[in-house]
């Protein structure tokens, strides 16, 4: 149409090609993608543990205790003759289940509190924030230990839900803070006023207009906390206050009698620790990259 007017040259504008978001992430964040690859491998190993692990993680073999790494026992055996490699593979189930569940519960609770605090404001906000300050005054492991001490054990479906609460609880105030500040910015937007004027209910405004805008910080915090949750679970199990025998768990493999076999069987100590470090490292890398990609301003 425009080119019909004489003297005006038509400018051809090429719309930049939109890459698939997953591909775009992989190209921009190679380190994060490497982390993601390790996470996917871990999930596969955990799901198909039965086929990946060469031995049963619980079979005790007194004729082959403290055997050094060999083709039969890739990472050696422990003081009960159990295969260390198989225990690490099965241990990833515990680590991932506790890691994902506790950070999902902790972050979701934190996000709900953060949004509610920002939306209702005033006195509600103040009371919630003071309460969060109280929880923040505890070091994470001290808080988790206190919760373990108070709640004890509560195993349903083979998972200790009180342990998950103990690990998830310290995350609540941190997520609540970040989500609250994002939600506060959204609350001042004209479209919220418009929704209010239109007479929509609080529920509708919160779920339709505010929540979609705080999904990014929520997801970032969630992934960042999975690694920390795995670390915390390992520490608690190491202290004998987390997962208990005979469930294979990385922290548990380092606790108790493992210390007595330092010199005879260093593989009992080296490999479970490497597994913890690698898992946490992968989640940290992925979480960091996800943050850089979605919203670099968020401080985890």
């Amino acid at each position: 149409m425009m080119s019909a007017i004489p003297g005006i040259v038509e400018i051809t504008y090429k719309v930049p090609q939109r890459r698939h978001p997953v591909l775009a992430f992989a190209l921009q964040q190679p380190l994060g993608t490497a982390g993601l690859a390790v996470i996917v491998l871990m999930i596969l190993a955990a799901v198909f543990a039965k086929w990946v692990a060469p031995h049963d993680p619980l079979t005790v073999d007194y004729s082959g205790i403290l055997a050094p790494p060999s083709w039969n026992h890739l990472l050696g055996t422990d003081n009960f003759g159990r295969d260390v490699f198989s225990r690490i593979i099965y241990g990833s189930r515990t680590a991932l289940a506790v890691g994902f569940l506790s950070s999902l519960i902790g972050s979701t609770l934190g996000a709900i509190i953060g949004v509610a605090s920002a939306y209702f404001g005033g006195r509600t906000d103040m009371i919630i924030q003071r309460f969060m300050d109280i929880i923040l005054a505890f070091p994470i492991i001290v808080l988790a230990l206190a919760v373990v001490a108070v709640l004890g054990k509560n195993v349903v479906f083979g998972i200790d839900w009180n342990l998950i609460i103990a690990i998830g609880l310290p995350m609540v105030p941190k997520v609540a803070r970040v989500v609250r500040s994002s939600a506060l910015a959204v609350r001042e937007m004209p479209y919220i006023d418009a929704a209010r004027t239109a007479g929509f209910s609080h529920t509708r405004i919160i779920f339709r207009h505010i929540v979609p805008n705080v999904v990014a910080p929520y997801l970032i915090m969630l992934t960042a906390f999975v690694g920390q949750a795995i670390l915390l679970e390992a520490s608690l199990s190491f202290l004998g206050l987390g997962v208990t025998e005979p469930t294979p768990a990385w922290g548990l493999m380092l606790s108790g009698s493992a210390i007595d076999f330092y010199q005879q069987a260093p593989w009992m100590i080296v490999f479970p620790g490497l597994a913890i470090s690698l898992a946490v490292f992968a989640f940290n890398l992925f979480g960091d990259s996800l943050r850089d990609w979605l919203d670099p301003r968020i401080k985890i």
Partner: protein
């Protein structure tokens, strides 16, 4: 400050009393011993656990106001005495770890920022991300393993106070300090790098360079001094949280410090001890926060004038 502390006190107290285990049961029946109900009741009366919760709370709070933190329900010794005998060790490890972290993180973070996206930066970043992933208790075990196989060094059974034999004391505590300090330095290195990168983008840095200031002076005087604020915050906050790292590390190095005391108190349902320790840590955290605020005013004159 005071309301937060009061909140912590109420929360801990209620959680323990309402939902916690029974210290008397743990102490007398823990090993499966056959103890009659009458004895349990007597012990409960002696510890004051039979009285209403608000009476117990008022008594505890009143005691604290006069500096009396109560008596451990397990050992029978005053809580303050038990804590005081272990405070020196934990505090020393914490301070040593902090010094290590500062010594490592500030140069590394600065290098990383100055040589952004070169191999130096990449190596330092990898080291610091790894520092966040490696469990400190496992690092401690590896350190012991290495010392054991190369130097035949074994963690000593008894603790030597600093003023008795400084050399012995330092050689004993440097390893746990290193195990905790690695993670600590990783956090600080990352903060140092990111804030320094931000500061180097500022206009006054360009101005300083434009007027021909030596690059060394630009970095040290103009950039570093302004990048220190968030780093100081992180170092301070992590110091307050160091007790958490010590909980597991003390176990590995067989150190009888606050962390070990805390784990023992938790497994024994020693209410008075858990309460006192949690409150101590929370107080410490709040004080550190306050000191950080003061440091801010000292480091950044703009805050003083506001």
């Amino acid at each position: 400050m005071i309301p937060t502390l009061l909140g912590v006190a109420i929360l801990v107290f209620l959680m323990l009393r309402v939902m916690g285990g029974d210290p008397v049961e743990v102490m007398l029946r823990g090993e499966g011993a056959n103890v009659s109900q009458a004895v349990i009741e007597m012990e409960r009366t002696r510890l004051g656990l039979d009285r209403p919760i608000y009476v117990q709370f008022a008594k505890w709070l009143g005691g604290m106001a006069t500096g009396d933190f109560g008596v451990s329900m397990w050992t029978g010794h005053p809580v303050s005495q038990e804590i005081a005998s272990r405070l020196q060790l934990s505090l020393q490890v914490a301070i040593m770890a902090t010094i290590l972290a500062v010594l490592i993180s500030i140069p590394l973070g600065t290098l990383s920022a100055l040589y952004k996206d070169t191999w130096i930066d990449n190596v330092i970043r990898l080291i610091s991300i790894a520092g966040l992933a490696v469990p400190s208790f496992w690092l401690g075990m590896i350190i012991i393993l290495l010392l054991l196989s190369y130097f035949h060094w074994h963690p000593p059974i008894t603790f030597t106070p600093f003023f008795e034999n400084p050399r012995e004391n330092l050689s004993q505590l440097i390893w746990p300090a290193l195990a905790v300090g690695y993670r600590y330095s990783a956090v600080a290195t990352r903060m140092m790098r990111s804030t320094l990168l931000e500061v180097l983008q500022e206009d006054y840095i360009r101005t300083a360079r434009a007027k021909g200031v030596f690059e060394r002076v630009v970095v040290v005087r103009h950039a570093l001094s302004n990048a220190m604020l968030p780093v100081v915050t992180v170092i301070g906050l992590e110091f307050a949280f160091l007790i958490g790292g010590l909980v597991v590390t003390e176990q590995v190095f067989n150190l009888n410090g606050l962390g070990k005391l805390f784990v023992q108190a938790v497994t024994r349902s020693d209410f008075t001890m858990v309460q006192a320790l949690v409150l101590l840590v929370a107080t410490f955290f709040i004080i550190v926060n306050f000191v950080i605020d003061l440091l801010y005013a000292w480091l950044d004159p703009r805050i003083r004038y506001r």
